[in-house]
C-alpha cells in the first residue's frame, strides 16, 4: 500500500453522491441490526449485500482483496476458538476432548460473518466519503467541529501509520532484526523494536500536527467556520433515509416480536 494515501477513493458512483449523513445512518443502523441478529443465513445474506453495494460503487478489486486479507485471519481465529470452546447441542464429531456441534459451527460462523460484514459496511462509508465530508456531516449533526476533525484525522492517519510500520520494520531488519523468528510471546518480543519506534514516531507526529494546526489558527475563539463545499440533502437522500429507517424498524420489530433471527440456524 502506498505510503500516506487515505482510505477514500474518488469515483463517480451513486454511493459517492449519497449525503454523508445518510451513510452514517446506514452504518449505525446496520451495526445495530448485525448485533441483534444471530442467524447464520441472515449474516451471509448481509455480507453478500454489502459486497453488491461495494461492487455497484465501483470499488476496485484490489481493495476487496485487501480487506479480506486483513480480516480473514481474525475471523477464522475467532470462529475457531468459539467452535472449540463453546460446543452446544448434539455433537457431529468427537475427537479426544474436542467436540464439534452443528450449533457451535453456526454460532462461530455468525461471529466471523458479523465482524467481516461490519468491517465492509464501515469501509463502504470511508471509501466513498472524503474527510471534509465526514467532518461536515458530524458537525451538521451537532457534534463539535473539534471532535469531528479529531475523528477525521484519526482515520487519515491509519494509512500513514501503516506506511510508518513498513518503513520502521525495514529499518530494523536492515540492522539484523529477524521478524519471522519464534512464536507467541517470543515473536512479540522480536517485534518490540518496531513497536517502540512506532510509538515514538507517532508521538512526534502528533506533536508536530498539533503545532501545525495551531500555527494555522485552528481553534481560534469567536470564529464561525465556513465551508468550501457544503453538503445538502437531495430528495433521493430523504428516500434513502426513509428506506433505511423502515427496514431497520421492520427487522427489529420482527426480531423482538416474532423471534426473527434469534436462532443460529432457524430463521424464525
Amino acid at each position: 500500500m502506498p505510503v500516506g494515501v487515505d482510505l477514500y477513493l474518488k469515483r463517480q458512483s451513486w454511493l459517492h453522491r449519497v449525503d454523508p449523513r445518510v451513510k452514517l445512518l446506514f452504518v449505525g443502523a446496520t451495526i445495530m441490526i448485525l448485533l441483534v441478529i444471530k442467524n447464520v443465513f441472515f449474516m451471509s445474506a448481509a455480507l453478500l449485500l454489502v459486497h453488491v453495494i461495494h461492487w455497484s460503487a465501483k470499488m476496485p478489486r484490489g481493495k476487496f482483496l485487501f480487506i479480506w486479507k486483513t480480516l480473514l485471519p481474525i475471523a477464522i481465529l475467532i470462529s475457531t476458538l468459539w467452535v472449540l470452546f463453546y460446543p452446544t447441542g448434539p455433537p457431529i464429531l468427537e475427537i479426544w476432548v474436542i467436540r464439534i456441534t452443528v450449533l457451535s459451527l453456526a454460532q462461530g460462523g455468525v461471529l466471523a460473518l458479523r465482524i467481516t460484514t461490519m468491517a465492509f459496511v464501515v469501509f463502504a462509508w470511508l471509501y466513498t466519503t472524503d474527510h471534509p465530508a465526514v467532518v461536515r456531516s458530524l458537525v451538521k449533526l451537532k457534534v463539535p467541529y473539534e471532535w469531528g476533525l479529531t475523528l477525521a484525522l484519526a482515520l487519515r492517519y491509519i494509512p500513514t501509520f501503516q506506511g510508518m510500520y513498513g518503513m520502521i520494520s525495514e529499518a530494523q531488519q536492515a540492522r539484523g532484526l529477524n521478524i519471522s523468528q519464534g512464536k507467541g510471546f517470543r515473536r512479540v518480543r522480536a517485534l518490540m523494536p518496531i513497536f517502540v519506534a512506532m510509538v515514538i514516531s507517532a508521538m512526534r507526529a502528533s506533536d508536530q500536527l498539533a503545532n501545525a494546526l495551531q500555527a494555522r489558527a485552528f481553534g481560534a475563539s469567536g470564529v464561525e467556520r465556513t465551508y468550501l463545499h457544503d453538503i445538502h440533502f437531495r430528495p433521493l437522500d430523504w428516500a434513502y433515509t426513509v428506506f433505511i429507517l423502515g427496514v431497520t424498524f421492520l427487522i427489529l420489530y420482527m426480531n423482538l416480536r416474532l423471534g426473527f433471527g434469534k436462532h443460529p440456524i432457524n430463521l424464525i
Binding site: 502506498p2 529499518a171 531488519q173 536492515a174 540492522r175 532484526l177 521478524i179 523494536p193 519506534a197
Partner: protein, 286 residues
C-alpha cells in the same frame, strides 16, 4: 578504525545488478531494467530527482525489496536466497529518517542492537559499541535517551548504530539532510575514513557539493533508468546531461566553467581545485 575484518579484496566484484525491474504492488515500474556493477572499495554517489528510484534501488542491495524481474548478486550470490537479517551482516543501511530506527532506552543500547543481532560475542558487542560511541563523539550521550536528543545527534546515533555492525558495504540514504555544514563535513570525513579502510560506500544525496568533493564515482538515475554511470569528474563535465534530469552543478563548478576562457582545459570540481587553478586570476586579469 581497527581491524575491519573485510572478507574481500578491493577491486573484487561486490554488487551486481542485471536487468533489474521493480514495481511496488499494483503500481507502475519504478526500476526499469537497471544493470550496474559496484566493486569492493568503490565510493559511489547515487543521484537523481525526487522519485527517480534511488531508495528503491538501494533497498535491493540488502534484500529489503526483491526484483520483479532480473537479479541482484552480492559477492556472486543471489540476494533472493537470503533473508534481510542475514544480508544485514554484509550490507549496512542508514535510513533517510533516523526516527525510523531509534527505540532503545539509551544510546548505548541503541548502538549495541545491530551487533547483537548479528550474533557477536557480548564482549565484542560492548567493545564495538564503545568504539562507535567514541568515534561519533557520542560518549557523553551514552546513557541518554536517544529519542529525545536533537536531530543532529539522532542522525549520528542512527549512523553509529549501523557503523558498529562493521558491514563491508555501507549504504547511506541522504545522511546529511537537515545537518548543518559542520556536522555534514564531520560526518563525511568519517565516511571517507571508512572508505579508506576498504569499505564500499553507496551515498544517496541531493547535495552536489558532497558528490563533487567526496564521491569519485557517480550514478545518475532518471525515471527508473540509469542515465549515466561514470567518474564524477566526467559526469560533471556534461552539464547538459545533468540539466536534463534537473540537477544543477555546484556553484563553484559553474563559476569555473564561466571562467574557463581564462584558464582553459580545467575541469574543476571543488573549491580546493578552484583555488589551485584560479587563485592568481585576479593578478592575471590586471
Amino acid at each position: 578504525m581497527e581491524s575491519n575484518g573485510l572478507a574481500h579484496e578491493v577491486g573484487d566484484m561486490c554488487l551486481e545488478a542485471t536487468d533489474l525491474w521493480f514495481a511496488y504492488e499494483e503500481g507502475p515500474s519504478v526500476l526499469k531494467g537497471i544493470s550496474l556493477e559496484i566493486k569492493v572499495g568503490d565510493f559511489v554517489a547515487l543521484i537523481g530527482q525526487n522519485g527517480s528510484g534511488k531508495t528503491t534501488l538501494a533497498k535491493h542491495f540488502n534484500g529489503l525489496l526483491r526484483p520483479s524481474r532480473g537479479r541482484v548478486l552480492l559477492y556472486g550470490e543471489d540476494n533472493r536466497e537470503h533473508p534481510v537479517a542475514h544480508l544485514a551482516r554484509t550490507v549496512g543501511y542508514v535510513f533517510q529518517n533516523p526516527d525510523h530506527q531509534i527505540f532503545s532506552a539509551t544510546t548505548r543500547e541503541e548502538i549495541a542492537f545491530g551487533p547483537r543481532n548479528i550474533g557477536l560475542e557480548e564482549s565484542e558487542v560492548q567493545q564495538r559499541t564503545e568504539q562507535a560511541l567514541e568515534y561519533f563523539d557520542l560518549t557523553a550521550y551514552a546513557d541518554h535517551q536517544p529519542a529525545i536528543l536533537g536531530f543532529g545527534l539522532r542522525r549520528k546515533v542512527s549512523i553509529a548504530a549501523v557503523y558498529a555492525m562493521r558491514t563491508d558495504v555501507l549504504i547511506l540514504d541522504e545522511p546529511t539532510a537537515g545537518l548543518d555544514w559542520k556536522s555534514t563535513h564531520e560526518l563525511m570525513q568519517r565516511i571517507v575514513a571508512l572508505h579508506r579502510t576498504g569499505h564500499t560506500i553507496i551515498l544517496i544525496t541531493h547535495d552536489m557539493r558532497l558528490v563533487a568533493e567526496y564521491a569519485p564515482r557517480c550514478l545518475v538515475l532518471r525515471d527508473g533508468n540509469i542515465l549515466a554511470d561514470d567518474d564524477t569528474r566526467e559526469i560533471f563535465r556534461q552539464a547538459d546531461l545533468l540539466r536534463e534530469t534537473h540537477i544543477e552543478l555546484p556553484q563553484i563548478c559553474r563559476l569555473a566553467r564561466r571562467l574557463e576562457p581564462f584558464n582553459p582545459g580545467r575541469n574543476i570540481l571543488t573549491v580546493a581545485e578552484f583555488l589551485e587553478g584560479y587563485g592568481n586570476l585576479a593578478e592575471r586579469m590586471r
